[in-house]
Symmetry: D2
Subunit: 457 residues, 4 copies
């Protein structure tokens, strides 16, 4: 008798493919995978006719950036559960000593998240770089972010003595290369010296509208920065743990393919908005960096996601309200948009249903690969005995129209409002608990917990 059984579903295992089975949950973990119909449980979640995916790992969210962390943790994990998200990687940055402040933040997070989470800490200074070994050994945080886009802004943004020039990156890369535990360095590719100048020019030329966003961040300036940063990792023998976030441009995807062919171990992520929107569909609500580009970029990203050049889908989720987000003009509008909850549905709708990805590939790019890249696997991202019972039961054929209400974020808009999307969770389980069921978020704040790394599995 298991605590809970997900019964009679079609399991979509990133590693073992698609097969019918019951999944028995005992406590937090998968206790059994067994012939469909064979398991007994205190509670039974009926998955007959539906698919069972490993819980979505959204490795790229920003919680606590525009709103307090406790608020974001409460509302955005609520929203995530609607979309099958069971783990988020919160890319988090402060100018202060992480060793001093993270206990507080983790405590706040611990009280408020409904699903599990980990932090990826922005390394902004030599002081941060020097803290890397202790962050890993003391805080159980092993992933870090290199904000190439803020290279020339961190001093002002965070009241630091110096900007984030490559000496800082060189420093933290050295520290990372020396740490014994597996670590990850996430990288925002952007040649901000180029984009900064373009921004000045565009502003002074009176450019406006979504074109102004696209033109500020040309694809080649993303691609060149990706090569430049990845090569610095390579010089430190660290390219295997280098992780390029939100690839948005065909140029970048092509350069990644070339680097991988040359033996670089670099991993890359794209986001659902680059896969599912084009610039023509965008307005101030879609203001994001990097921007949403033209059709040719979108097509290239799907191809590179299918062929393995890009291995992970994330969202760059930020919760904000339309009234705050949309300013007087595009320049005054806020960065970032909410989208964790639509990640899996969109990958199913536009990826699987459009024939671009197999079901199994969908499970890889929404769960297993992010878990591997961030060293959460096989605790997360796997359907295996002993792995956390993070599972999503999905009706891959259910079509819904996206509305903010559906998504239950603090944000009162979506980049996809009005879109028909096919493939929605019926149940989301987080470590064995039914955290979401057919429209209702059941998990309370505090059900989620921090994933200490390196994981013990």
């Amino acid at each position: 008798m298991h605590d809970l059984v997900v019964a009679n579903g079609t399991v979509v295992s990133p590693e073992q493919g698609v097969f019918e089975a019951d999944i028995g949950v005992d406590g937090d973990v998968v206790g059994a995978i067994a012939e469909a119909g064979s398991l007994d449980g205190e509670r039974v979640v009926d998955a007959a006719g539906n698919h069972v995916f490993p819980g979505v790992v959204d490795p790229h969210v920003h919680h606590g950036l525009f709103r307090p962390l406790d608020d974001d943790a409460r509302t955005e994990s609520r929203s995530g559960l609607v979309g099958g998200v069971t783990t988020t990687g919160n890319i988090f940055r402060r100018g202060e000593s992480y060793l001093e402040i993270m206990d507080d933040h983790v405590r706040t997070a611990e009280d408020n998240y409904r699903h599990d989470y980990f932090f990826t800490l922005g390394l902004l200074s030599h002081d941060h770089a020097a803290e890397v070994p202790e962050i890993v050994s003391e805080l159980g945080i092993t992933s870090f972010k290199w904000y190439m886009n803020y290279k020339l802004d961190v001093a002002e943004m965070f009241d630091l003595e110096r900007n984030l020039l490559d000496d800082v990156a060189d420093h933290f890369m050295s520290e990372l290369a020396d740490v014994e535990a597996p670590t990850t360095l996430a990288y925002h590719s952007e040649n901000s010296e180029i984009t900064g100048h373009l921004t000045e020019q565009l502003k002074s030329s009176g450019a406006t509208g979504y074109d102004a966003v696209v033109d500020r961040f040309p694809g080649y300036a993303e691609a060149q920065s990706m090569v430049s940063g990845t090569n610095l990792a390579r010089q430190h023998g660290y390219d295997d743990d280098f992780y390029v976030v939100h690839v948005s441009a065909e140029e970048t995807a092509n350069e990644l393919a070339t680097l991988q062919e040359m033996g670089y171990g670099v991993t890359a992520e794209t986001c659902t908005h680059y896969l599912c929107l084009t610039r023509e569909q965008c307005d101030d609500r879609h203001k994001i960096n990097p921007p949403i580009r033209s059709e040719r970029h979108q097509a290239a990203l799907w191809d590179r996601l299918a062929d393995g050049t890009i291995d992970v889908v994330g969202t760059d989720h930020i919760a904000n309200r339309e009234a705050d987000k949309v300013g007087d003009d595009i320049w005054e509008s806020m960065w970032g948009s909410p989208s964790s909850a639509t990640m899996l549905p969109l990958v199913l709708s536009e990826g699987v249903h459009e024939g671009r990805l197999s079901l199994r590939r969908a499970a890889e790019v929404t769960s297993a690969n992010a878990a591997k890249a961030y060293d959460l696997h096989p605790k997360k991202g796997a359907v295996r005995v002993g792995s956390d019972a993070d599972l999503v039961v999905v009706d891959v054929d259910e079509t819904r129209t996206v509305t903010p209400e559906l998504l239950q974020s603090a944000a009162d808009y979506s980049m996809y409002t009005g879109r028909e999307v096919t493939g929605w969770p019926t149940h989301t389980l987080v470590r064995g608990a039914v955290a979401y069921e057919r429209g209702d978020v059941l998990a309370d704040p505090g059900h989620g917990t921090h994933i200490d790394r390196p994981i013990g599995v």
Copy 2:
């Protein structure tokens, strides 16, 4: 209540790695994988302290070649079970119409095998080539062999009108490329025009001893033939289903790496004797084609097996008796030696214990990868609910000295007699039945069955 439970073992899953679990068996298949200690069974196999591997798939044996098929099936599947073998691929050739004769052979096999089996049929003539579509659709046999080594001999050997020149290969490759079901073409790499001439020269020069075998079959003549044959497959768009058997030479392994880098999908196999013996250790009992070579080849093969250039281990098993095998001199000695039963133990002993392979890689190369190459997966080669319950419980730390008695083959010698080998099965399960237990073969002839392909999973 399962029919049988393999309890408390450490599962070595090719796809999911190493974890503790019970495995429940219902009928022929895996019914459940569950937390260690949680399952009940009519029967319990205690695997505590031991590892549970997927049953060994030896894709390269010759049953019915020197001895009648019924005899070989009976005795050699008995021997295989001792070593954890649960499926063999019998590379089988006759000059006659396979459509006419295979029913009989399958019937014979069906009555005598103790473990499961499939056939790989040698294509020797245009008539054979023409039969390919019907063999696939009627006989459930989807794998074939191209004997490049017999290129100039098949007419005489099999009383055929013509030899096995490339027109025949071109013919069957065309047929194979046209068949919709997945198929496999196994290839014996050997430039027999070169080796044939060397053989004449060596014979007339009075060469003898094991050197005469090595010198007949230089590595470069294997490598060149591999490239030549694989390129013909490439011309037919068939390189993804091309399978190079018994790679024995560093030159071949290096050329394979180059072809794969160029985008060829070719799969390659090596055999335990190339990994675990060097020519200095060999005498007439080791007469085999290709020959066992020097240390540098052995080292290269381990490296290429670890790095994925070579993906499968097989044995080229042939049962014969030492009195028959060893002739007056090396020229009179017979080809081939028995070795299915030592395959997994040697991979563990010389591969895993020597730090050349991980446990998981051992499971890949002894089971999953052969199953994939021959389109048996995930029925075979996987530890998954619904997969055949072919399992081997292994005490990876048990050391035994190889003797013919230990191996229970019809052969009364082994290439490894006297060697201390660490890592032996305690139990072998074939489709749920305990077919071998601590020295005793329990499965009767006829327990094994033909694997019809394409498999329905």
Copy 3:
């Protein structure tokens, strides 16, 4: 005062590009290259308004194959001079000992050639292979031919004991790899086991017309054979001296590009008919092996010639008369056609004038690269002080209609009869002598001489 001056022309140097200059000739060699208009000569060839190319090296002719060598040497070197040919490589084969017979043949050649020549000897047997070192050291012949197309025919064709299987090739490749002097092995790519069978099938099916020739020799059977043969050379460390003749198929050109990318040093040749004709333009007069193929092959060959994958143009010239050549049907028609004289004009007309090649590239592919491949350079193929004064003055804008009369071959037809071709020699100089001038062949039989290799320059 030079013996002769080619005055005021535009020199097209394969190595130094295009520039105005006088070229002074002293005896056999270039004595001076000097400012246009500056040199005095006993005789002056006025090249004002015209271009001066290095003499054409046609590395692939068959003289003495269907007609006696003395006849061919006399008439076909006459024809060659019309087209600017100053050196031919005669691919020559006999079953007998070359050491015994070549003195006679060279004597015959010496009495009859009007331009210079060298031999490339077909290696047909182990006896031939064994002669390689002495042929090089005694006869000054350093280039050889591997007739893969006659693999299964040489025994009958040449009354030999055995056919030309790979053991023979392996033998001569070993010998070649051991010779210290630079050597060349020319290779006719054809999987004759495949083409032989296709031939039988086509014959018995009643196929006829030019399609029957094309269908006998599919491009993939050329490509696969090229890879197979080149890899055998690679196994002997001899790929840098391996020379693939008459590439006719896109498949082969693409495989060549791949091999070169992998580091193979192989050189390749195509012929004018593959560049300037398509199968639709062909009839029995164009029967040649390999056949003239479709437009896509032609386009690929021009591209590969421009990008350096293919480095040499030759002709495969054979003199025969239309009455003999054209038989009752395509099966009865003779192999081979005359085309040395049209080689340079066609490369200029279809290559340079159509924008596919630069003038300099034209000089490389018609002269320098063949001279390098056959180790004649810089004696041949260069416009340099001390090099042989083999020069062609060309009016690149002169258009003529091809007729047999124009070409002065013993052949009474041309594959190009009636075609307008732009770019014709006004003068051809062979070692300083004006051998051809505006329609008149001036060189007598015997003016040409054998090029002993290795050359002393």
Copy 4:
């Protein structure tokens, strides 16, 4: 009767190899290349027993940097002539408008150079970038420099508004990509954000001696910067005209090889001091950026120069006096050292005589390849009729001990003082005039002239 004849020498032609010839000079240019002993001249330079190289093109000097341009032009071209230099590329930078100031500088240069010269202008600002098209069309200057090492210093150094961030580079690269004439962008690879920080650290740690120079500029920071800058060129489709100066580190050489394999057209230069010195041999007189490194770097650079990864040798020549150069400690010492005059002798002595380069390769890397990279060819860098008669007669076997007096620079020291060097010019000709003869510089200031590009040849 030529104005001058270089008689009976062994010509070392980068394009045509090594052969005996007379070279006749008429006015500025080569009027004839003719059989040795055949030419008459008003004047005859006897080259019997010696080699005749194309005049050395040193593409990397700094004239007018520490001393006035007129002084440097006078004395350093004097010194250059001693070493066979006939053309220098003066890498020249000013903060002002080049369109406004270069006329003056060219006039100064015109009055003072004894050999020919061209300018490569440092692009330091958006204003400079905007001037690129007019510089090319009006000033005949087509090569430019990207000082990555001064990225963060140009504002202060040149009193500019902003530093040389990538937006400036992006700007001038766009302009360059749009110019129709062939142009060149020379690039100093250095991640100055990393080296700047290391410099601070080393200074504050009290580091001193030559180690302090080496440790400031680690090889990987050069390599990474090379990749980063070259990739930006690639994004503009400009990598074929991208030229990496003074490669000093094995890491950089290896990355270059990788980029070239991936199809980048980038050209690279190293300098004689990286080839002929190691850090152990260095003191304050060798303070230079990048620094002279260890033996492994030197060995790698010779290998890459031989194999074509690196194609050009330059010097980074700067004239200064030891009293000025050597400061109180390494930090106070000046950058740069004189070495144009030793360039060819060292390449012959350490390259050719040590078996690392052929004579022909020496002529390529000291003359032709720089001429091609800077679009001076075939006016410069070729031994061809019509090319400038810039020639060096060299006694490749003459050994001399380096002294400042020998070199005739304004500098009173050499990095090679006391070294025995074998291979010295006997005569240097600049556009037909004997500018240097056995110890005496004969050319007056003003003999040299600016090379307007694109050249008309």
